[in-house]
């Protein structure tokens, strides 16, 4: 079989012919992505027997479409009601929700959809072209380098705390402390578990996520009676299709921003074990660092919404590369795909592209087709979805609390996790009432354990020698970029202010 333009063209039309699998999977993915606790991975596990019955090609297309659309779906409740459906969408409400509260929910959804779709399409094409080289990223990004990548994300705590730095840093510190609960990564010594076995593996992410964001938000909006102020209600009611197109236009104008933030997602996605949560926080931090208007972030900035959404959709193509090229799954969903492929007798790793190039390249082409079909199926829905913000909080708050409590129960099926989500809800409510930023707490909870894991691994490998953190060329290069992105913006601002004086 010759791998040329004709091959790819045929493959494209072939995958397009499977629209009858792709479109229902897109809608299923939107639903499971939007409900916290559900995800593409556990939906595929539940539907695994059906995937075994399907032809391998159809099964893979089904899984890919579900995977991509669930990533996009997770951003919808994050924007409209401040509930990230998955950890990968945890950075989305930072600017998405303020936009929705200003009555621009429809526009925010449109921006989110277009940046997700464009980011997904771009990274899929890049993945198709550069797969053999991108797969090598994992050979260079080891624990030492990942420590620096984590610090990129964690430094965001300082950025979100611009209003009150001390409170922001305290919130971030509390998050890091909560993130350190559980057995340590080397000797499995339990720390801060308070005797709860359920906390041995650390604080489960979904209860923390839904508690801090969703439940605390539900408590807040109960008090206000509505998501929106009266004049904003009017604005949403009067919004026409033009709002959607305006969102599309705003995003297309920032095509370069979509491009480079989605590339951050692609590169982080390729690293085995890294994921969408890291990618979206790092992309948001980088977007803010290089922005001409960093002070507008956190208040409904368009680029603050584009960055995490483009990045977490860039991750989808990235996580499949190590599976396809090296035979090692980059994430949970990729691991399940590997099970299905092996069950069907399809090789993973280098053999896939020689024995079944139609499947190897077909997976990425299916991803391309999914994103393409999403632009026709999802985008028009933004107008109707945004109406959620008009529903009275008398109804919405109990629904949010009920859904999120069920969502926190789903991953491990422990009642404990529901109590934990409620506890985090109370913590989030107190934090909001007293001016502490819940996002700063959450960044600590999500990225703290990952930073610790990579740091301890690096130290274990070096026999406890801390200089290992500066032992690699790539690592040192990343350290320089990290320091530059932290120091340069404020230095440039000061210089600019001085020259203006």
């Amino acid at each position: 079989m010759t791998i040329d333009a004709n091959f790819f063209l045929e493959l494209f039309f072939h995958q397009l012919g499977l629209w009858w699998v792709v479109i229902p999977s897109i809608f299923l993915g939107l639903i499971v992505g939007g409900i916290p606790g559900f995800s593409a991975a556990n939906t595929i596990i539940v539907l695994l027997p059906f995937t075994f019955l399907m032809e391998v090609e159809v099964g893979l297309v089904f899984m890919i479409a579900l995977y991509c659309s669930s990533r996009l779906g997770a951003g919808i409740p994050a924007i409209l009601v401040n509930i990230p459906g998955t950890a990968g969408a945890a950075a989305t409400p930072l600017d998405g929700y303020p936009m929705a509260k200003q009555g621009f929910g429809q526009r925010a959804l449109s921006i989110s959809f277009v940046s997700s779709i464009l980011g997904g399409l771009l990274t899929t094409v890049i993945a198709l072209i550069t797969m053999p080289w991108l797969a090598r990223v994992g050979f260079y990004m080891h624990s030492v380098e990942m420590v620096v990548v984590m610090l990129f994300g964690i430094s965001l705590i300082a950025s979100v705390a611009t209003k009150d730095t001390i409170k922001g840093l305290i919130a971030g510190f509390v998050g890091l402390m909560i993130g350190s609960i559980g057995a340590d990564h080397v000797y499995a010594t339990p720390r801060g578990t308070m005797g709860f076995l359920e906390l041995y593996d650390g604080v489960p992410l979904i209860p923390a996520l839904v508690g801090l964001f969703a439940i605390s938000e539900a408590f807040m909006v109960i008090e206000s009676g509505s998501f929106l102020s009266k004049d904003r209600v009017q604005q949403v009611q009067n919004a026409s299709w033009a709002e959607t197109f305006y969102g599309v236009k705003l995003t297309l104008k920032r095509w370069f921003h979509v491009g480079w933030t989605s590339l951050i997602g692609l590169v982080i996605g390729v690293i085995p074990g890294a994921g969408a949560a890291i990618a979206s926080f790092v992309a948001y931090q980088q977007s803010r660092a290089f922005s001409k208007t960093p002070e507008a972030y956190g208040k409904g900035h368009i680029e603050g919404l584009i960055a995490p959404e483009a990045a977490n959709n860039g991750v989808t193509a990235g996580t499949l590369i190590p599976l396809m090229v090296l035979g090692i799954p980059g994430g949970a969903t990729a691991a399940i795909m590997m099970v299905v492929m092996q069950y069907q007798g399809v090789p993973t790793g280098p053999g896939l592209f020689t024995e079944r190039p139609d499947l190897g390249y077909g997976v990425f082409m299916a991803m391309f087709v999914t994103y393409l079909l999403m632009s026709f199926t999802i985008l028009p829905m933004s107008r109707y979805m945004s109406r959620v913000t008009l529903v009275s909080t008398v109804y919405m708050s109990p629904i949010i609390i009920a859904f999120t409590l069920v969502g926190s129960f789903v991953p491990r099926e422990y009642m404990f996790d529901m109590y934990l989500a409620f506890g985090f809800g109370v913590l989030g409510y107190i934090a909001r009432k007293t001016g502490y930023h819940v996002a700063a707490i959450l960044i600590g909870v999500i990225l703290g354990p990952l930073l610790e894991q990579y740091m301890l691994r690096a130290l274990k490998m070096s026999g406890g020698d801390a200089t290992v953190l500066f032992s690699s060329t790539l690592g040192n290069f990343l350290w320089v970029i990290l320091i530059a992105t932290l120091v340069l913006p404020s230095w440039l601002n000061k210089k600019k202010a001085k020259s203006e004086q």
Binding site: N42, I45, L48, G138, F139, H142, S143, A183, H185, V186, Y187, A188, T189, L197, E198, Y200, D201, P272, G273, P322, L326, G327, I328, P329, A335, I336, M338, V339, Q342, Y343, P347, T348, G349, P350, G351, R412, E413, Q453, R457, K460, M461, G463
Partner: protein
């Protein structure tokens, strides 16, 4: 036509007699065993739903239920390397042979050696072992090491970093024993799970890795196997015909398996020996059932690793794991 009538008093008398007769007759005629099992048997699985243990459990019980005439109902309690499931089973379930645990004897028993659970570890016993998946030493496809001798000789010059899924794991014990035997220096680095361990070897972050061989077989050409911690390399070519440690180095290391088996409260065995006997007999029948191979293969199992073990084999293995765990405890706990 004669009208059949029954007065209230005679109806009560007749009913009482009939009921009494049934109760006495039933009680005398039916031994206690015949009523067991009269409901589903709960099985605690101390890992996540959808994982390897779940698939194997479903494959085995799809046959076992026919021999037991009852269903097996799984409950998943993941967390703390299996500790949560065992604590729940030992602490919350009645010892009446209506509840079992389906555990992984290797890593889970090593857990007890590293940190004792809240219950007495002799208060439950394993039986009906379904599979044994030996640990192995492997490298990424691009590694410079070609044989186990290369690894040992390099390990004598410098300390090699060895990726493992977690410290308290049979494969970790295997490599520590190899280091002890040859004088090579190995530094175990836990990588949190099999997927990450394979990645650690493939991306060359680790010098080499150790893991249960089933996961290495799944990684296919991405990895090369160097040594197997078993008496025989039953996987042959799938594990690159790697030698076994005992054969190659003349050691007497017990097999370092990940071995899935059912567990039951010892109090249940003591109180209901007949029930336990039934569980064992029917379990063996299920394993020998011709349909099991098909179910096992469908669960993505590697057939040469299907390996039945009774109470004796399980007890020997549990004891060996505890002994090895105790021997290497300082290296596993850092204390």
């Amino acid at each position: 036509m004669t009208k059949l009538t029954m007065k209230r008093r005679s109806f009560i008398k007749t009913s009482a007699a009939a009921a009494g007769g049934l109760m006495i007759g039933g009680g005398l005629a039916t031994p206690a065993l015949a009523s067991y099992p009269d409901r589903n048997i709960d099985v605690i699985i101390p890992t996540r739903e959808g994982g390897g243990a779940d698939r194997l459990f479903r494959a085995f019980t799809s046959l076992w239920k026919n021999h037991m005439n009852t269903n097996f109902e799984p409950g998943f309690f993941p967390g703390a390397s299996g500790r949560v499931g065992y604590e729940v089973y030992m602490g919350k379930y009645k010892p009446d042979a209506y509840s079992l645990i389906f555990g992984n004897m290797g890593p889970e028993v090593l857990n007890w050696a590293v940190k004792a659970p809240s219950f007495n570890i002799d208060d439950y016993i394993y039986f009906n072992r379904v599979d044994t998946d030996p640990g192995c030493v492997f490298v990424g496809a691009e590694s410079k090491f070609k044989t186990i001798d290369d690894i040992v000789s390099e390990g004598k010059k410098r300390t090699l970093n060895v990726g493992t899924s977690r410290l308290a794991h049979p494969a970790s014990i295997g490599i520590l024993a190899l280091g002890e035997h040859t004088g090579a220096k190995f530094n175990l680095v836990p990588l949190s799970g099999g997927k990450n361990t394979v990645a650690g070897a493939v991306t060359l972050e680790m010098d080499f890795c150790v893991l249960t061989s089933g996961s290495v077989i799944k990684a296919a050409d991405a990895c090369r196997t160097m040594l197997v911690f078993n008496d025989k390399n039953v996987a042959g070519e799938k594990l690159d015909n790697a030698p076994t440690m005992n054969d190659y180095f003349g050691t007497k290391l017990p097999a370092m398996f990940s071995a899935r088996a059912f567990g039951i409260h010892k109090a249940a065995v003591d109180a209901h020996p007949d029930r336990f006997e039934m569980l064992q007999k029917t379990g063996k029948k299920a394993f020998d059932d011709p349909g099991f191979k098909d179910a096992f293969l469908k669960s993505k199992g590697f057939w040469p690793y299907a390996n039945y073990g009774g109470v004796k084999e399980c007890a020997e293995f549990k004891s060996a794991m505890l002994e090895m765990g105790e021997r290497f405890k300082p290296l596993l706990t850092g204390k």
